[in-house]
């Protein structure tokens, strides 16, 4: 059994991470899931959320990611995110903007299912904001 997985975290502006890690929690559209070595192949789109990486050393690195997809295959996890920022660098203004967008999306939502998903997303962002403010 493989000990580690190769993580590739790429945003349009640069490659943020390309290294071996122990495990990663990915915020998929249909729910968060944990990727460990020898994970079954998956291809999913992302929702705005936190990508939590457990390094080989056991330390944890977290990124805020939005918009894109994650692909798991052959012990390799590729995450393509339109926006990916280390959580420490995420500013309040940035989250406020995300929240505003989520609200706008929610207003535009067409059916019940979509509305439910989007309001969950909005709740998550608001919680994230509160969590970060506590941390500061």
């Amino acid at each position: 059994m493989a000990e580690a997985i190769q993580l590739e975290l790429v945003s349009p502006e640069k490659e943020l991470a390309s290294r071996l890690v122990k495990q990663v929690v990915v915020p998929g559209t249909e729910g968060e899931f944990q990727v460990m070595p020898d994970h079954a192949p998956v291809l999913t789109t992302l929702k705005p959320g936190v990508l939590a990486i457990t390094e080989i050393s056991g330390a944890e690195t977290r990124f805020f990611v939005r918009g894109g997809y994650a692909e798991v295959a052959n012990n390799q996890l590729i995450v393509l995110a339109e926006r990916a920022i280390p959580l420490e660098q995420l500013s309040a203004a940035e989250i406020d903007r995300e929240i505003r967008w989520a609200q706008e999306d929610l207003e535009d939502a067409r059916d019940e299912e979509e509305r439910r998903k989007l309001s969950e997303r909005l709740d998550f962002l608001i919680q994230l904001k509160q969590a970060l403010q506590l941390g500061h």
């Binding site: 590739e8 790429v10 945003s11 349009p12 502006e13 640069k14 490659e15 998929g28 559209t29 249909e30 079954a40 192949p41 998956v42 291809l43 999913t44 789109t45 918009g67 894109g68 997809y69 692909e71 295959a73 052959n74 390799q76 590729i78 393509l80 339109e82 926006r83």
Partner: protein, 305 residues
């Protein structure tokens, strides 16, 4: 014949110009390096995006319900040309080359009886095209003058606008014009069909970028779990791909612009040097001629006594 004073002024003015072109060349060289780095940093993303879309699209191409971003509207009547150029001049034929390619495409489409709409990104292309095709412009050019470093948001804004227009049915086919950065001395104007996404293009590009592909191809063909289903993922990714392509075009353009400016300013500096040499030569000749003339006048005056 210009007087000595005229020549001296001329030499000074050419020297001043040379200083400016030299400085511009150095600034362009520094900016070029940054632009090139940005273009390279963006490459993995677009390569991977292409790979995944090509993979998904290959399975789904003929199915119902696939996003029109891949299949098109089924018509081919209204074309939108997005012409990306620089905001500034003094970069050789860079802007003119892109505009020329766009103009020939406009003429071709018009001759074929299509409706053509043009959206310019960057002031210079707008200026070049508005005289002949002003009536085709759907809006003022997208202004990137204040933008020092192109970020994904800028591309996203443009792409968003295109997607909105497409949803409203404002056009059937969208083509992007930009300049491909080959090297400092070679930039090639290119056109790229954005909507519907052209897959042949994607596949050949993948071929060039083999390393990423071969990585995935090592293992047995994996049976993926798709979340949500394949079609939804594809339909989610296709509009995103528009932003990615626009972003790539803008970055390539930025690098090309600086490359073109560097070459143009290098030439200008060299030409100015050449000019200073010839002007100095004729200045010295004339000065000597004048001294000789004065001497002759003095001597012949003395002899006459």
């Amino acid at each position: 014949m210009p007087s000595l004073k005229d020549l001296r002024n001329r030499i000074n003015s050419v020297k001043a110009t040379q200083k400016i072109t030299k400085a511009m060349q150095m600034v362009a060289a520094a900016k070029l390096r940054r632009a090139q780095e940005a273009a390279e940093a963006a490459r993995p993303y677009s390569v991977r995006m292409n790979a995944v879309i090509a993979k998904l699209a290959a399975n789904l191409k003929d199915q119902e319900g696939v996003s029109p971003f891949l299949k098109g509207t089924g018509r081919d009547d209204v074309h939108l040309l997005v012409v990306c150029t620089a905001e500034r001049g003094l970069c050789g034929a860079f802007n003119a080359n892109i505009a020329k390619l766009a103009a020939s495409e406009i003429d071709r489409l018009k001759a074929a009886g299509k409706t053509v709409k043009v959206l310019c990104v960057g002031r210079k292309g707008f200026d070049l095209l508005k005289r002949t095709y002003g009536d085709l412009m759907i809006d003022d050019p997208v202004d990137l003058k204040q933008v020092k470093r192109i970020r994904f948001e800028h591309a996203h804004e443009i792409a968003d606008r295109l997607i909105r227009m497409f949803d409203e049915g404002a056009f059937d086919v969208c083509t992007l014009f930009y300049s491909e950065f080959r090297s400092v001395i070679s930039q090639k104007p290119r056109m790229l069909q954005l909507i519907p996404a052209k897959l042949e293009d994607l596949e050949t590009e993948e071929g060039e970028q083999a390393p990423v592909q071969s990585n995935a191809a090592e293992g047995p063909p994996a049976a993926y779990t798709y979340e949500p289903d394949e079609k939804e993922i594809l339909n989610d990714l296709l509009p995103r791909n528009v932003s990615v392509q626009v972003f790539r075009a803008l970055l390539e353009n930025a690098a090309s612009e600086q490359g073109a400016r560097m070459t143009a300013m290098d030439n200008a500096t060299r030409n100015a040097g050449e000019m200073i040499r010839t002007l100095t030569l004729s200045y010295n000749r004339q000065r000597q001629a004048q001294i000789t003339k004065e001497l002759i006048e003095i001597i012949s005056g003395a002899e006459a006594l």
